[in-house]
């Protein structure tokens, strides 16, 4: 089939059948930004677009789903944005563009080289990098003819753009057609409200954030090397440079003095033993509880007293949030995208608790885990939301321990016994005092709670339960936890009120508790 006649219109026509100009653009993969690469499979389709242009958006939305089929046939489609790369990638993803994504900074040399006055402009580059056809604006009949021409070059039929209304729509002015200084000014978005710009960029967990200006990020880093890598953040495996961690801390609202704790918590969740990958993408509601011990608690104003699990204290609220933003933004675990949580829970916004070591009658969590009491330690635990446990009536430690333990009997699921993963009990000061007065240590309480909660296997064979329950003799007693060590005990909360809480586990992940020392700034 001979190629159809030229379908061109606009300034690009002047370049018809001439060698295609070089592309001065950037892409995620530098090698993919050259014309040689784009035409390597046969032909290339360059779609020049701009974020601000509604017709560009329409073109990307209409052509995007066809890119994979075209690529399989030898036509590589690339959206060439007149916008920064991060904007380009976000817009392409939002609009379902499945081809390559390229970006050009002011003064838009690629657009100038191709003679653009309008975006979108679609350019077909054939074998030997020859300009074959150009279509200006959204013009479905002409684009269909252009794709037919591409098919003729490749010797195969290619899917045509959808013939949905409107078939034709004028485009917007290319930034290359404007004075360079004016274009540069346009490219710097002038939002009236930069808080709204953060939403527009997708740099949020759904709440307003603090814009991560270079000045704020530098202050957050406090002179630390921002290029230092803490590792890859699953599930998308974005690299957690210290600079990106600091950007997340700024977004979350942290003060610079919190940053060593944020950095330590980030290191902890990135430890493979924690399995952030599983926690980030699961349908479970798992959040990442950040427990802080040691002198740093008081130094940065972490609350471990009244309302210890609730709002009101900047350090608690923002440190946990910074860790979550790292997973959500740098790691790509955005809810509804790679985060597949069925319900989620509010602790996934951020959950940071400081242990009240001064009130606790016991050794603090970090000392249990082998650190010196004077060290500042962050411990991360995959957790469900807290369940309140009211007990104002127990008069013996045995009764109180029984009530606390049985409150967790339905943790994870009613009949899923035993739990191998940790349940975290946050014991309030009044409850802790009862155990202190009775001379109960942590281990005694833990073992009593472990021994208190068990049921015959036959009573647990209903709905979701464990293989162990199914295999056991119906009369065999099954404990709620696989071992006493699965019961984690912390002390925190206000001095009045007998309310403790239990946080159920994140199960099935092989996720372990991880502790990391806070580096002094």
């Amino acid at each position: 089939m001979p190629p159809p006649p030229h379908v061109l219109r606009g300034r690009g026509d002047r370049l018809q059948n001439q060698p295609a100009p070089a592309l001065s653009v950037v892409g995620v993969d530098p090698a993919a930004a050259s014309l040689d690469d784009l035409t390597g499979s046969g032909a290339a389709l360059l779609v020049f677009v701009s974020e601000e242009c509604p017709t560009s958006a329409m073109a990307l939305r209409n052509l995007g789903p066809l890119c994979r089929g075209w690529a399989a046939a030898g036509l590589t489609a690339a959206a060439v944005f007149e916008d920064p790369l991060d904007v380009a990638i976000r817009v392409a993803r939002r609009l379902g563009w499945a081809g390559r994504v390229l970006s050009q900074p002011p003064p838009y040399q690629a657009s100038r080289a191709y003679g653009l006055v309008t975006v979108p402009t679609t350019v077909l580059v054939g074998r030997a990098r020859t300009l074959e056809a150009t279509v200006v604006g959204w013009d479905q009949p002409r684009l269909a003819a252009l794709i037919e021409r591409a098919g003729a070059i490749l010797g195969t039929a290619l899917a045509a753009p959808p013939g949905t209304e409107p078939l034709c729509k004028p485009g917007c002015s290319s930034k290359a057609a404007i004075d360079p200084e004016v274009a540069a000014a346009i490219s710097r978005r002038t939002f009236d409200d930069e808080m709204e710009e953060m939403f527009e960029r997708g740099w949020t967990d759904g709440l307003p954030v603090v814009p991560p200006t270079t000045e704020r990020v530098e202050a957050m880093l406090g002179g630390a090397d921002g290029s230092e890598s803490l590792g890859l953040v699953p599930p998308s495996m974005g690299e957690a440079t210290l600079e990106r961690v600091a950007a997340c801390a700024v977004l979350a609202g942290c003060r610079p003095e919190y940053f060593p704790v944020v950095a330590a918590a980030s290191r902890a969740v990135l430890d493979p033993a924690f399995n952030l990958h599983g926690q980030a993408v699961t349908t479970q509601p798992a959040g990442q509880l950040v427990v802080v011990n040691g002198p740093v608690r008081r130094a940065i104003g972490l609350n471990s007293g009244m309302g210890a699990l609730g709002p009101g204290f900047r350090a608690n609220m923002t440190i946990g949030r910074a860790v979550r933003l790292l997973a959500t933004l740098c790691g790509g675990a955005a809810p509804g995208a790679l985060d597949r949580a069925t319900l989620g829970q509010m602790g996934k916004i951020g959950f940071c608790v400081a242990e009240d070591e001064e009130t606790s009658p016991w050794e603090p969590l970090h000392a249990e885990r082998g650190f010196e009491p004077g060290q500042s330690i962050v411990t991360v635990i995959g957790c469900d939301a807290p369940l309140n446990i009211s007990d104002h009536r127990s008069r013996t430690p045995e009764d109180l321990a029984y009530v606390l333990a049985w409150a967790a009997a339905s943790a994870w699921s009613t009949n899923w016994w035993p739990l191998a993963e940790p349940s975290v009990f946050v014991i309030c000061p009044e409850h802790a005092a009862m155990f202190r007065d009775a001379g109960w240590g942590k281990q005694r309480l833990r073992e009593f709670m472990f021994d208190a909660v068990h049921k015959p296997a036959g009573e647990l064979r209903r709905g979701e339960t464990t293989p162990l329950v199914h295999a056991a003799d119906p009369a065999a007693e099954i404990p709620k936890w696989a071992a006493p060590e699965a019961i984690v005990l912390l002390v925190a909360g206000g001095e009045a009120g007998r309310y403790s809480a239990v946080l159920g586990p994140c199960t099935g992940m092989g996720s372990q508790i991880v502790s990391v020392e806070v580096e002094s700034g």
Binding site: I89, P212, T213, S236, A246, A247, Q279, L325, C330, G510
Partner: protein
Amino acid sequence: MTSQYVSPFDERVMAPEPLAPRPAAIEGRTVALLDISKNRGAEFLDRVETRLQAAGAVTMRRAKDIFSKPAALALIDEITGRADLVVEALAD
């Protein structure tokens, strides 16, 4: 106000990954059946394997150690080296 921001994103991992070309037929192709080790995934793959073999495909069964972690690199290398296609049983 114009400001320069530090992006929390790693743009290198944000670009869409194109799907591999789909074959026109599966006869004679080697299909890896990957069980991620979730409950009853193997039963699902049993049925898929029967149908693939009836269609002329050669099958190979493999399993991840645990469903909640990425597959081991050695397993990925083996599958990409030996199989033309992959069917993954994701969830119960």
